[in-house]
Assembly symmetry: C2
């Protein structure tokens, strides 16, 4: 299969941040050639398909480094509540009532929304059971996924029986899933360890996965410093703050991706910087749960790598990267001024920084010859994006566009959405089945 | 013309805030009957059209009480700058370079986007010239508009010549426009005085329109307390704060609608409350320009009437009521907790509060028999709104929906959008012309 995208405006996100007018030739999984407009270099005569991208913007696909596909069916279920209530009264009981099929549709529904919004890669945290269902849904949808079974081995009366796990089982099952799924589908599917957060995990569990993850170069995906009550409990139980604890156990480093990181002190910022630990900023979720606003401008000044994520549907209530980009830019400005974060920095968080967090920036996150073809095509000819201003191309993308502008999505060289229509999965059928399984879950929560 | 909307879930926003399953019969401009499901009351046999609203949400159309249609062509033009720079370096030079035609297309483009996003009524502030073009565009589009020529008679070297106006001319032209346009199109088009803000207006101008506006029950639409530098200048020039100044001149009251109201002290909150002055909250714009975050929860506790507005495209960069609703809810939560504003309160701001601000809550802002038929139909069967949770209907609307969910828009009993297609105006043509006129304006600014 070879695919030619013609007459595009390509926002490459390459090291020079070049914006190029021209064509992209995709062969198999890879970006074979980028031909600048006016360049006479001959194109191959045969390609399977041509896409005319006149008046369109071509971007690397968005990379969300914190999602919970297993929670998509819990969308709109838990409103205007605080984090720990939200978790204990709604999310854990809902996760506990999942079946193999319900979690499969929850994940498929999430994949459908993500792809329609231009997201091509996710770092996803599952629940205790049925992680296979998430892998299967992601595989079928065409999305690229780093996925892990959630690890939580601390006993608590607030945790439903179905989610109680032992240290040994949690580690054993995670490694079994790694063996089954890691690097499947030509590397489109990968395993990532997912210890829930400090309060859910024993020291034995965290140490138990540390060496395995580092030796096999696997991502460790967790939550940290989301909420002041959480921080207080962490300090009470461990005697130190979240980042200090991760650091003490030897988990910090380039393989660790921590969602939220709102309540950090100066020393923790230093730990992030020194160890090259990655942060995922989730602005919608952080606002919705009243958690706070992470100081992202300071992290970026300190050259800490920050990606973006929608988190789960029940604390957002969407999975749109456009919303997270817009909010990332907007929410800092009342505190640090209109130049707090540039639009280019926001788009970096949504693309290349995500690839760095996942250790795949040599393959993904920008459009360059030889890179893997995860590419999205955005239509500028809609009322809400007119006029689209090339002089302010980054702002025009992050502040005026939304999921409606996403026309075509290519992952691993394959077209997974075209003209708004999903090609690998049946959206209508997924919506229908999702409604059925959601109502079963509601019965267990209300 | 009679129109039957069948099998709907009707979020009425009536005084009881009833959510009704049933049918709505529209005859001419009015909501003739609301028939609850299971009620055997016979329907008339003949209607021009039936819309099946199974799995759909029917709402009163959104009312935006602060927009600038003349600025839609300046979308994406002025990024990451402070309010006064934004105004003086970009917006005023752009307004100054408008022609009769460019402002007409700017307004039409805004109308297209607004209707597609479910907005049915706006309170709009024009520029110094060509206000007729805005009236014409709104009239053609089918939108309901309260529109006014901007009034600014204070000389300043920062203001382009084209925008310099005299007190006498500003008042005379405003009254002429009132006489020409007020209550046209069966009352769908109304005049509203639009003094820009305290710093732009002489005392003579403000006093000059006060009695005329009150005698003729006209809205006075202005900006206030948006920014700390503005407040400092107002205090320097008038010796008092914005609301104190408006109050001293006798402009406060139910006819006054003030956008922003971020930097208010306790006494100004008291003035708003005592005089029943209306506030328009514009969260995207306030964040984008780094202005601050208005204390809306406190205003609502004080029973001050607060509506919502997208402001102009160059400080948003969209005109979507869904975005303003979502942000209104989200941005208060990190400061005042997840219950800071309920989702129902947010939807009230977007509908019935807007109608109150414009003095038309006996006709608009809720779905009741006898009210004017400004109604929108929202599809729930999309990935980003699945599952749609009836138990949390207000949250499901404001946090999971967006403009993509708007399927049909009815204004004054007429279908102005159906299945996403505008019926009164040609969207493609508007986009094409808008691009042409925008590029002419850019030449004058860059």
């Amino acid at each position: 299969m070879s695919l030619l995208i013609r007459n595009a405006t390509i926002v490459t996100m390459n090291p020079n941040r070049d914006v190029i007018k021209g064509d992209i030739l995709i062969e198999g999984q890879y970006i074979k050639k980028i031909i600048r407009r006016g360049n006479k270099r001959l194109l191959p005569i045969h390609y399977t398909k041509i896409i005319d991208a006149t008046d369109k913007i071509v971007l690397p696909g968005f990379i969300q480094t914190h999602t919970h596909l297993c929670q998509t069916l819990f969308r709109n279920i838990a409103e205007d509540v605080k984090l720990l209530d939200w978790l204990q009264k709604y999310i854990w009981p809902s996760e506990a009532s999942h079946s193999r099929d319900s979690i499969y549709y929850s994940a498929l529904l999430g994949c459908a929304e993500l792809i329609k919004g231009g997201t091509t890669t996710i770092l996803d945290m599952g629940t205790v059971h049925y992680t296979d269902s998430i892998f299967e849904a992601v595989r079928e949808s065409g999305l690229r996924g780093f996925i892990g079974k959630v690890m939580m081995d601390k006993k608590s009366k607030n945790i439903p029986d179905e989610l109680q796990d032992t240290t040994a089982n949690s580690i054993a099952e995670s490694i079994k899933l790694y063996e089954k799924w890691h690097n499947k589908e030509d590397g489109r599917i990968k395993y990532a360890f997912a210890p829930r957060f400090v309060l859910s995990c024993s020291e034995a569990l965290l140490k138990g996965i540390r060496d395995f993850a580092i030796e096999n170069d696997l991502i460790i995906h967790s939550h940290s410093s989301e909420n002041r009550s959480e921080l207080a409990l962490v300090m009470k139980k461990t005697g130190c703050r979240n980042l200090e604890y991760f650091d003490k156990l030897g988990l910090t480093g380039k393989n660790l991706v921590l969602a939220h990181c709102i309540w950090l002190d100066k020393n923790e910022i230093e730990i992030l910087k020194r160890t090259k630990t990655n942060v995922t900023h989730c602005p919608s979720s952080n606002l919705k749960l009243g958690s706070g606003i992470a100081n992202i401008p300071e992290m970026l000044r300190q050259k800490i790598n920050v990606g973006l994520g929608a988190d789960g549907a029940p604390c957002n209530n969407n999975l749109s990267m456009f919303m997270e980009m817009r909010l990332s830019g907007l929410i800092q400005k009342p505190f640090y001024g209109p130049q707090a974060i540039s639009s280019q920095q926001v788009l970096e968080m949504a693309t290349i920084n995500g690839a760095k967090a996942l250790g795949v920036s040599d393959e993904l996150g920008c459009i360059e010859e030889g890179k893997t073809a995860d590419i999205i095509i955005l239509d500028t000819n809609q009322a809400q994006t007119t006029p689209f201003v090339m002089n302010n191309i980054y702002s025009s993308i992050i502040y005026s566009m939304n999921s409606e502008n996403v026309e075509t999505v290519i992952i691993d060289g394959k077209i997974v959405m075209e003209d708004g229509e999903l090609k690998m999965i049946n959206e209508k059928e997924i919506i229908k089945k999702s409604k059925k399984y959601a109502s079963k879950i509601w019965k267990n929560v209300w």
